[in-house]
Every structure is written in structure tokens, then in C-alpha cells.
């Protein structure tokens, strides 16, 4: 990153730093994994859920996954994943995750150079493990609490902490400060296309669960919260203690 670039984008950078500082203000509480459900916006969340459900049920999703050849979907996925690595490296550094920082940096260098701009995932051929993280996880590591549950349009279930994380991630991709226009939009565009493909490949399974459930809103909420909490605690957390149904 050259100095000129930083200077040019300094107002934006300042906003981001202010945001991070503001959010970090709620840190220091330690990593407490909540078990309950905090959903004060249930009414509006349910409306969004119905919208998302209609979207998933419209069948446009899985049609797309069938129409676009798997080879193209893989290339889009590789490019998007590779372009996200600088941001993964930054978040790993903010989490003091040295190993994650190393993996993300090494993956980015290997795939950009040997994988021709990330088209081929050479790093995986070299048995370099995958690593993914986001600013939502950084906030978790810093001790920010989970916040209320949200269901976002298109994106689906989330939490207050992850909504803030998404907002910050939008502005903190180092590539967008280094690359000129329009190259800097490639990451965003392929990232979006990749998530659309992924959603559409998965939409059969999701549809089954949503359509088959008596209350798909509460099922989606419970499954998301369990999965996200598990994801966040598996790198740092203590071994899980289980409910013993034999004692009840």
C-alpha cells in the first residue's frame, strides 16, 4: 500500500477507525458465549423472513446453479476467495491470530502469483489449509456481546455484532485502497456472484427445511445462532459441556 493511496482515502479511513474505536468501546467483557435467544425485533424480523422465504421458494436460485457450468462457478469462487484474503489477514491480525494471518497472506501470495490472479486455487494443491474470518469474529474476540438477533433481507439470519462487522468489512478491504477503479470492484462483484451461486446450490436443502417446518422462522433463528456460536467458539473456546437428558 503506497502512502499516496492512504492519503487520498484518509477521510474514509478516519471514519472506519472511528467506527472501530466506537465498537471496541463495548469490549473488555470477555468472551461469554450466550445460550439464550435475544430477539426484540421479532415482528419486523418475521416480515423479512417471509420475504426471504418467498425469494428462496421462487426457484430462481437453484435454476441459476444448474444453468451456469460448475467450472465457471469454481473460478468465480476461487477469485472471490483469493481477493478476500487480504481482509482475512487484517482481521486475523486484529484478532492476534498469527497462524490465521500467515495462512491468509501465504494463500494470497501463492494464488495471486502461481494461480494467475486467483483463478486457480494452487494453495489447496499445496495442502495449505483454508482460513476464513470477518470483522464480526474480530468483535467477538475483542469481547463485544452478541447483540440482538436480526434477519436481513437477501443475506438471512445475523446478530447485532455481525451486522456491525459486515458494515466495517465493507470499508476495510485493503485491496479497495490499493487497486484502481474498476479493478477494486472485482472482489465485491465476484464475492456477490459467489454467494449467489452458493445460495442457489444450497437452496434445495434450505427449502426443504424452511417449507417443511411448522415455524420456519424460529427454526432458522435457532439453527443460525447455534452454528454461529459454535463457529466462533471452536477456535478459542473451552470444550463444550452437554446437557444430560438422563438427569431430567
Amino acid at each position: 500500500m503506497s502512502l499516496g493511496n492512504i492519503k487520498r482515502s484518509s477521510p474514509r479511513a478516519l471514519i472506519v477507525i472511528a467506527l472501530i474505536a466506537g465498537l471496541a468501546g463495548c469490549s473488555g467483557a470477555g468472551r461469554v458465549q450466550p445460550t439464550g435467544i435475544d430477539d426484540p425485533h421479532e415482528q419486523s424480523n418475521r416480515k423479512v423472513h417471509n420475504f426471504n422465504k418467498k425469494l428462496a421458494g421462487s426457484g430462481n436460485g437453484s435454476g441459476l446453479a444448474h444453468a451456469v457450468p460448475m467450472g465457471i462457478q469454481t473460478v468465480v469462487h476461487n477469485i472471490a476467495e483469493n481477493l478476500s484474503m487480504p481482509q482475512v489477514a487484517v482481521n486475523s491480525a486484529l484478532q492476534a491470530d498469527v497462524k490465521g494471518f500467515g495462512i491468509a497472506s501465504y494463500r494470497f501470495l501463492t494464488n495471486t502469483v502461481l494461480g494467475v490472479g486467483g483463478i486457480a486455487d494452487v494453495a489447496s494443491e499445496f495442502q495449505i489449509p483454508k482460513h476464513d474470518t470477518d470483522f464480526g469474529e474480530t468483535l467477538y474476540v475483542w469481547g463485544a456481546s452478541e447483540g440482538p438477533y436480526y434477519e436481513l433481507p437477501f443475506v438471512g439470519p445475523s446478530t447485532g455484532r455481525d451486522v456491525a462487522g459486515r458494515a466495517v468489512d465493507l470499508f476495510t478491504n485493503p485491496l479497495s485502497y490499493v487497486l484502481p477503479r474498476p479493478e477494486k470492484y472485482i472482489g465485491t462483484a465476484t464475492g456477490f456472484a459467489d454467494s449467489v451461486f452458493k445460495n442457489s446450490r444450497r437452496s434445495d436443502a434450505i427449502n426443504d427445511v424452511l417449507q417443511g417446518s411448522t415455524d420456519s422462522y424460529s427454526q432458522a433463528r435457532l439453527i443460525y445462532l447455534q452454528k454461529r456460536r459454535y463457529e466462533l467458539s471452536r477456535r478459542t473456546g473451552a470444550p463444550v459441556t452437554y446437557d444430560d437428558p438422563y438427569l431430567q
Binding site: A205, D208, G212, S213, T214, D215, S218, Q219, L222, I223, Q226, K227, R229, Y230, E231, R234, P239, T241, Y242, D243, D244, P245, Y246, L247, Q248
Partner: protein, 200 residues
Amino acid sequence: MTHICNKMNRRAFGGGALAIVLARPAFALTADDATAFIKRLISDIYSVINSGAPETAMIRQFEELFVRYADVQIMAQYALGVDARSATAEQKSAFNSAFATYIAKKYGKRFRQFIGGRIEVEGSRKIKAGFEIKTTAYLKGENPIEVIFLVSDKSGELQFFNMFLEGVNLLLTERSEIGSMLDMSGGDLNATIRELSKAG
């Protein structure tokens, strides 16, 4: 208050001690037993998947496997939650069999994804009720999924009593789903049992 507490503690302690004596199996469950048990379960599931039988036949076979390998009674009781307390014996047994059918149907449909994949046992860990067996499911074209089985012999025989897929607790999730069914029917357990045997 202290008096009541003491009395309750004493009673609870007595009951607990009795339960331990009664439930104690002849031989203590070892990690190897629990791991071998899950390996048998996985290989039985795969022989159904690879049989190439039509889906309805497969789901019937999955139900048989579920009844054989899982502690259906304790799982169904947990999934029913507080309503299990007021249920009659007939309702409980009807609920148990509806629950087994429901689980076999709902999760059996997903096993289609397992064709061409494999499940590997990663390790075991002692937990209060028995053992946690950690496995990884490698599905074609997907990232590996962590599947955890909780195994116990507290029922008198070796059985699994819960499963976690990428941290998602099967019993907890189904307790919520069945709770929604009970809410929908205004707390009518018989209606919920009918609903459950159709669902999945």
C-alpha cells in the same frame, strides 16, 4: 427454608444414589466400545445408502437403524419437553414412535448427499453421560462437516442420545420444532402426535 432445603437435598441424594446403583451396567463403558459402536452405525447407514433401494424403502431402513442404535425414549422425552410430564403412557408411546418416523424421514432424505462421500471417526472424549464421538463427514463438492454423536449406556445398553451437525444440536432443534407444533395445536398433544407422524 433451610430445613426444607436440607430435606430436599437428602431426598435427592438418596434418589440419586439409588439411581446410580440401579443404572450401573455390569461393565463400565470404555471409549473403545463407544467408538466401535459409532463405526458400526456408520457402516450400517452406508450399506443402506449404497443399496440403491428406492427412497421410501431406505427411509424405512433408516427408521429401523434409528430404533436399534438410538435411545429413542430419552430423545423423544427431551424433544417433547415439559409436556412429557403430563402425558399418559399411551400418549408417550405413540409420541415415541411418531418421533422415530419423523427423524428417519427428515434426516434420511438428507442422506442422499452422502452418496460418494465418507464419514471418518476423529476421536472420543469422556462426558458426564458417557462419551462424545467426533466424526467428520466428507461430502462430494462440499466442505467437510463435523458430526458429533453422544453415546451412553445409561439405558442399560449402548445407544446414542444426541447428535450435533456443525454445532447444531439435534435434540434442541427438534424440541423447538415440536414446541411450535404444540403451540399451533393449542397444546393438544394428540394432534401434535398426528402432525409429527406426517411431518419430516
